[in-house]
């Protein structure tokens, strides 16, 4: 608990103080799996998490994202040098654009701003059936919707059963059920594939 409070105070300081923006990286709370074991505010099972936000980016002003939640709630999300940003792959804040969808996790500051530890931009995790396979594309049936999933050479990978991720997606066949982790192309029915999980 001491760790939680120390970290919360440090991150708040980092965001609220101008010079502290760089200091946020010193928290060591970025991409590694260990970051998610570091702390979490006590939230009752079933309840909403105040340190989490989702929605679409309305505007970007400096390091602040103004986000309209899917439920209509407005969020101010502050990104620091210490925030990990994912958009198909780990990337930098300059790749984030207005209109993007996101999930964000961080620390809710007293003024309501969410100081972000992690931002996942346009991330989707779809369970679907493969309806068609084309050159560098998969056509997916997802809850009655057709999704066009683009394979991105150098980034897209497949996990077959228990195997390590491989770049060879040739084992994906029409009719297979798959889980596709990827990045949505805003305002389309298209995504880019990060990882396809398939049983073969």
């Amino acid at each position: 608990m001491t760790t939680t409070m120390d970290r919360r105070r440090l991150l708040s300081t980092a965001v609220l103080g101008g010079a502290g923006l760089v200091g946020a990286t010193a928290l060591g709370s970025l991409a590694p799996e260990a970051a998610f074991a570091a702390d979490a505010r006590a939230v009752e099972p079933g309840a909403p998490d105040p340190d989490f936000a989702e929605g679409r980016i309305s505007t970007i002003s400096g390091g602040t994202l103004l986000v309209t939640g899917s439920d209509g709630v407005l969020h101010s999300i502050r990104v620091t040098d210490g925030t990990s940003v994912w958009k198909l792959h780990p990337t930098t804040f300059d790749q984030v654009a207005a209109g993007d969808g996101l999930y964000a996790r961080g620390v809710r500051l007293p003024d309501g701003t969410l100081a972000a530890d992690s931002v996942w931009v346009n991330i989707v995790n779809l369970h679907a059936h493969i309806a068609g396979v084309g050159r560098n594309t998969l056509h997916l049936d997802h809850k009655g919707q057709r999704i066009v999933a683009h394979v991105v050479p150098g980034f897209s990978a497949a996990v077959y059963n228990s195997t390590p991720a491989v770049s060879d997606l040739s084992l994906l066949k029409v009719g297979r059920h798959v889980q596709v982790l990827g990045a949505w192309h805003p305002d389309t029915n298209e995504i880019s594939v990060a990882t396809v999980y398939a049983a073969v």
């Binding site: 099972p45 939640g69 995790n125 228990s162 889980q179």
Partner: protein
């Protein structure tokens, strides 16, 4: 009662953007991506006939909407409490699938967490992680 060990993933529900916009509030009618909730393969008899964890050799108790489970990410030991809000994952479609972090492994999909819950114990970009599920 021993913890159930397997795999966890995440799913979106409730108000949402993109392809998630069509997912609805889940079998219990209460599911929201921002809440600490989860899908359970044996949330009802009707649910069980779809997910069929037994076909993968997984035995899990029937527990209905609102029941609390506690999920531990076996990669980092982080733990979270969530309530049942939907039916899933469809365990039988990935029978025998195995995820590991070093020597910590889980076989077969046993739980899907909402983005808020999953991201509290793992990165959403990890997609799939070994886990244990308990009731206390």
């Amino acid at each position: 009662m021993a913890a159930l060990v397997g795999e966890m993933s995440w799913f979106c529900c409730g108000n949402a953007w993109g392809p998630c916009g069509s997912t609805g509030r889940g079998a219990c009618g209460t599911c929201n991506s921002g809440n600490y909730q989860h899908a359970w393969p044996n949330a009802s008899a009707a649910c069980f006939t779809i997910t069929r964890p037994d076909s993968c050799g997984v035995s899990m108790a029937r527990r209905g909407c609102g029941f609390r489970h506690y999920t531990t990410n076996l990669c980092n030991g982080a733990r979270i409490g969530t309530t049942i809000a939907d039916c899933g994952p469809q365990t039988d479609l990935f029978c025998g699938e195995r995820s590991c972090c070093g020597s910590a492994c889980g076989t077969n999909r046993i739980i899907d967490l909402t983005p808020a819950a999953y991201s509290a114990i793992a990165s959403l970009s990890s997609g799939l992680r070994p886990c244990s599920v308990d009731i206390v």
